[in-house]
């Protein structure tokens, strides 16, 4: 029963990964990281049930919290960069 959700989540992760690799702007990549983070949380919850070990939900909880810090760190990074280079921070090397 959990398989259907798991497959959907995995497929979505693959799609988001494709977005993260393709870009084209840095914001797309951050968006993709955030998406993958959310999917990871869900996947962990579902797999905990799949394994019959609901006590592992702790992990999912940690992810939900840590993920947010990552995004905020990125924002702070953008802010610093914006002051540094007066606004060309969207330029992207790849």
């Amino acid at each position: 029963m959990f398989y259907a959700v798991t497959i959907a989540l995995l497929a979505t992760m693959a799609l988001a990964l494709a977005r993260a690799i393709m870009g084209p702007t840095v914001y797309d990549r951050v968006l993709a990281v955030n998406m993958i983070g959310t999917k990871t949380v869900l996947l962990m919850s579902v797999i905990s049930f799949l394994f019959g070990r609901p006590d592992f939900l702790d992990l999912a909880l940690v992810y939900a919290l840590i993920n947010f810090i990552g995004v905020l760190a990125v924002l702070e990074f953008f802010r610093v960069r914006a002051y540094d280079r007066s606004g060309d921070s969207e330029a992207d090397g790849s």
């Binding site: 840095v26 990549r29 993958i36 990871t40 799949l50 592992f56 992990l59 990074f77 090397g93 790849s94």
Partner: protein
């Protein structure tokens, strides 16, 4: 079915790794390695390693990303030169890989309960944990008692890193803080993002509470000092990101952090020495109390606390060392 999931995740992992190396922009590489960390942790989780997955989540995806971004904001996010000696490197790498494949390829033992890895030492740990330590999480038991000396070493590795970063970039700033930073005396931090700030401030106590839960729940479920230390440090880093680094330093000044770094390591060692003074060997917790099992448990709680304190202190010191360089 899990096999397919596992293979799928491994494939994603590979693709991400290649993309990380390929990416020309360092910021992109850091973002992708954040994804890499998440995927790696999921793989660990599927391989029954809950504790490792938790650590990878807290350390790899959280702290490591923050540190890399901190370093990037102090340097540059652009990778300029192409690789000069590609062929030579490829040759070295190819030889290494061939050697690895030769060494491991024909090994049948993946998942085999009869493999030497599974039958030699591991069952003893499971049994002895049940009898002599009586805590549910075998990983914690091995980590803090059977191989407690390793863990002591690990605490001192973290301690060394903390000392090292403080030594290198702790004191004098290379760039003057007032030169950079936002204009018009605007305080640093994400103050102008109203919503993240509100939500973030709400979350800080929750994260900290959860960190404490991970710390003290380590004997029963996935968790322990390292993970807890990383999570608590993350919560204070979150506060620093929201309110500016200075406010966070008012909460936990540098001197307190140095005290935490040393104090945790000393607490751990003190438990070990106590075992020695009370007639056992170094790090023998059984002699701490009359009942050896209780002694083991109290020893584990104490050393995990030491680990948590040191890790929190070190990670925060490292963060502040980067942040105090002016920009982050």
């Amino acid at each position: 079915m899990t096999v397919v999931f596992s293979m799928f995740l491994l494939t994603l992992l590979l693709i991400t790794a290649i993309a990380v190396v390929h990416a020309g922009n360092l910021f992109v590489a850091v973002m992708l390695s954040g994804i890499f960390s998440l995927l790696l942790a999921l793989n660990f989780f599927l391989l029954d390693a809950a504790d490792v997955a938790l650590t990878e989540a807290a350390v790899g995806a959280g702290i490591s990303t923050v540190l890399f971004l901190g370093a990037l904001s102090l340097t540059t996010d652009r990778e300029k030169s192409p690789s000069p000696h590609r062929l030579l490197s490829l040759a070295i790498v190819a030889v290494t890989t061939l050697a690895v494949i030769m060494g491991t390829l024909d090994k049948p033992s993946f998942g085999d309960p009869e493999a030497p890895v599974q039958v030699h030492v591991a069952p003893w740990y499971l049994e002895t944990t049940r009898e002599a330590i009586q805590i549910p999480n075998v990983v914690t038991a091995v980590l803090s008692s059977f191989r407690g000396y390793d863990t002591l070493g690990e605490v001192f590795v973290v301690f060394t890193a903390g000392i090292g970063v403080l030594f290198l970039i702790g004191r004098h700033s290379g760039t003057k803080p007032q030169d950079i930073g936002p204009p018009h005396g605007e305080p640093s931090g994400l103050r102008h993002y109203l919503i993240p700030r509100l939500i973030g401030r709400m979350l800080v106590p929750f994260i900290m509470l959860f960190g404490l839960y991970v710390q003290f729940h380590g004997e029963y479920g996935p968790g322990g000092g390292f993970q807890a230390g990383a999570i608590i440090a993350a919560s204070i880093i979150l506060y620093a990101l929201l309110e500016g680094e200075k406010r966070a330093l008012q909460v936990l000044p540098r001197s307190v952090l140095v005290g935490m770094i040393s104090g945790g390591a000393l607490l751990y060692s003190a438990v070990g020495v106590a075992g020695m003074l009370m007639g056992g060997n170094f790090l023998d917790y059984s002699v701490l109390l009359d009942d050896p099992v209780k002694g083991q448990q109290i020893g584990i709680i104490l050393i995990e606390a030491g680990v948590g304190i040191t890790v929190t202190g070190v990670l925060l010191s490292i963060f502040h060392a980067f942040a105090a360089r002016g920009r982050f």
